[in-house]
């Protein structure tokens, strides 16, 4: 028999109670995994959307509260496009619009000449005309979900549009959305001369970093060049809010799970007072009794981490199967998310086990042996 064996055996003795404690923690862990994976997926897609294609970098509004709320004056596009080191600069307006059965449909307003820079490949039909006011291209996933093909009509924000083609970019959000002529979307959203991002391709022989530095210098405080996911994360509060929300859920899980574990372990210590007295009488040191109870508590946390991870993974998968969110959510299971869940589950075990373990280690063997 090993120390670990004894720990597991003690949990097994009160399996219903252990199971309830594990269920409590694992639900918190499942929430963390599912929310985190969905948030990570949305974040990655959104970032990929705004720096997609063959652009070297994007330019957005500095300190915008949300990435889709970035507002860049269209005039800046023309200024930057004239810089000798810039090969091509195109603007895109990103907005959510209401489609039949989906009030949060991602639409991008873009000029047809920006398709290459945006990485747009036409699968069927033709591109829309530059100044067309009622033409739309549907992403592959959106066309499938809505069962639309070129030649059909669709209502966007209560205005009728004609589907002229189907496209693919390889990005889940984009392929689940629609492309409109820039002017048409600006008109539809009542945001004239406004862009969300500018996509920039730098001429050969020029340094991307130098051009980014020039953007920063010339538009300090109003525009910001963005290339990596980290730069997006740093600049946009919305992504930080998602992270903060995830951590808040983690904290709640820690507190609720911790109380559950503490209750379970205190009951267990109380019931085993005499038994702990025997252990102390036969020579177990206080620290060994402490380790036994902490071990049981941490084992509860570790088991809950595995159960919760599985539940969270299954939950996030189940959400992606809902027709309302298909094409909008693609959970990303990053290793650090699992590490976060495991640390929180073990933290719950640690916090919940501390007091019961302290109490157990301070049981007097002589008094415990008299305990009925």
């Amino acid at each position: 028999m090993s120390f670990l064996g004894l720990i597991l055996k003690n949990l097994w003795r009160h399996r219903i109670r252990s199971l309830l404690a594990i269920t409590g923690i694992s639900l918190g862990i499942a929430t963390i995994i599912a929310l985190g994976a969905i948030a990570d997926g949305m974040e990655q897609n959104l970032i990929a959307t705004l720096r997609s294609g063959k652009a070297d970098f994007s330019i957005g509004q500095a300190h915008a509260p949300m990435i889709v709320l970035s507002s860049v004056p269209e005039a800046r596009l023309y200024e930057i496009a004239r810089w000798p080191e810039v090969g091509q600069a195109v603007g895109a307006l990103v907005a959510f619009a209401s489609f039949p059965g989906n009030p949060y449909f991602l639409t991008m307003g873009i000029e047809p000449e920006a398709f290459e820079l945006g990485g747009v490949t036409l699968l069927a039909g033709r591109p829309f005309s530059k100044n067309a006011e009622d033409e739309v291209l549907l992403g592959k996933i959106a066309a499938n979900t809505l069962a639309l093909k070129p030649g059909d009509s669709v209502e966007i924000d209560l205005k009728k549009f004609r589907v002229v083609g189907i496209y693919e970019t390889g990005n889940l959000l984009e392929d689940g959305g629609a492309l409109l002529p820039l002017r048409a979307l600006q008109g539809l959203k009542n945001r004239p001369s406004e862009l969300t991002v500018i996509l920039v391709r730098v001429n050969e022989g020029f340094s991307v970093e130098a051009v980014m530095a020039r953007v920063e210098r010339e538009y300090e405080g109003s525009l910001i060049p963005l290339r990596s996911a980290e730069e997006f994360n740093r600049n946009y509060q919305s992504l930080r809010l998602v992270r903060a929300g995830s951590w808040l859920v983690s904290l709640l899980a820690l507190v609720i799970g911790g109380i559950g574990v503490m209750n379970t372990m205190i009951m267990s210590v109380f019931e085993r007072t005499r038994e702990i007295g025997i252990l102390r009488a036969v020579g177990w040191r206080r620290v060994r009794v402490l380790a036994l109870i902490m071990g049981e508590s941490l084992a509860l946390g570790a088991l809950a981490a595995f159960v919760g991870t599985f539940l969270g993974w299954s939950g996030a998968r189940a959400v992606t199967l809902l027709p309302q969110v298909r094409g909008l959510i693609s959970p990303v299971y990053a290793p650090d998310l699992f590490a976060q869940a495991l640390i929180i589950a073990l933290g719950v075990g640690l916090v919940g086990g501390l007091y019961p373990a302290y109490r157990a280690s301070h049981i007097s063997p002589q008094e415990a042996l008299r305990y009925e």
Partner: protein, 245 residues
């Protein structure tokens, strides 16, 4: 000094802020390898004396040397002392009901040494997962169970054993760490007379075989008679032995 494993001088122990005087100046000496019965009526202080000798409690005053350790001056809770030097047998056997007889015998070894390497031998699922404290402890526990006549019941749990068998498991547990001294508090108090005889015979045999010092607390003169020497306690003091002689 080395000839005596227990030396107590003027031991005093009180409870309830001094209102109850459990031991009132006990002085005694016990030789190494001796079988001594501490006899006395209920509440005489004999179990208190046993608890002090076993370092489960500390005297208020006096001097107490057990197996070379000055228990009055030793700091901490003396768990290491109990683990290395003392084996306990209790009246109610005090086995852990969820563990097998073998695991109960092994319990003191888990407290005596650092934890074994985790998952060293992920054998019989779900328990035990590791090897415990190694094959030596395991072999010794099995040998002791054989010796007390329970070799074939090593994997039975206490509820599946009779009262006498449980007490024999407790005897094996008391000896697993090779103690110098075994303290038995009314070890046959809950047994019928036939089983009592068997357990006492076993204790005496093991004490002789292994050369350990056996101190047995009892209120029963018949049990006290089996010892080499009887120390009688009355009202917290050592008196002229009437119990066993």
């Amino acid at each position: 000094m080395s000839d005596h494993i227990v030396v107590a001088r003027d031991l005093v122990k009180t409870y309830e802020n001094g209102r109850t005087r459990a031991l009132d100046g006990v002085t005694l000496e016990i030789r190494r390898g001796e079988f001594v019965a501490i006899c006395g009526p209920s509440g005489s202080g004999k179990s208190t004396l046993l608890n002090l000798i076993g370092a489960l409690d500390k005297p208020d005053s006096g001097e107490l040397y057990v197996a070379g350790e000055d228990l009055m001056r030793s700091p901490g809770d003396l768990a290491h002392f109990r683990a290395r030097k003392v084996g306990f047998i209790f009246q109610l056997h005090n086995l852990i009901p969820s563990l097998t007889a073998l695991e109960n015998v092994l319990i003191p070894t888990l407290g005596a040494s650092p934890p074994s390497p985790l998952l060293k031998r992920a054998g019989r699922f779900p328990f035990p997962l590791g090897e415990g404290l190694g094959d030596r402890s395991d072999a010794r526990a099995r040998e002791l169970l054989e010796r007390v006549g329970l070799g074939d019941k090593a994997h039975r749990r206490p509820p599946e054993l009779s009262g006498g068998e449980r007490q024999r498991v407790a005897v094996a547990r008391a000896l697993v760490n090779n103690p110098e001294i075994v303290l038995a508090d009314e070890p046959t108090g809950n047994l019928d007379s036939e089983t009592e005889k068997h357990v006492l015979k076993l204790l005496k045999e093991l004490q002789t075989e292994r050369g350990v010092t056996l101190i047995l607390v009892t209120h029963d003169p018949r049990v006290a008679q089996t010892a080499d020497r009887v120390i009688e306690i009355l009202d917290g003091r050592v008196t002229t032995p009437l119990c066993g002689r």
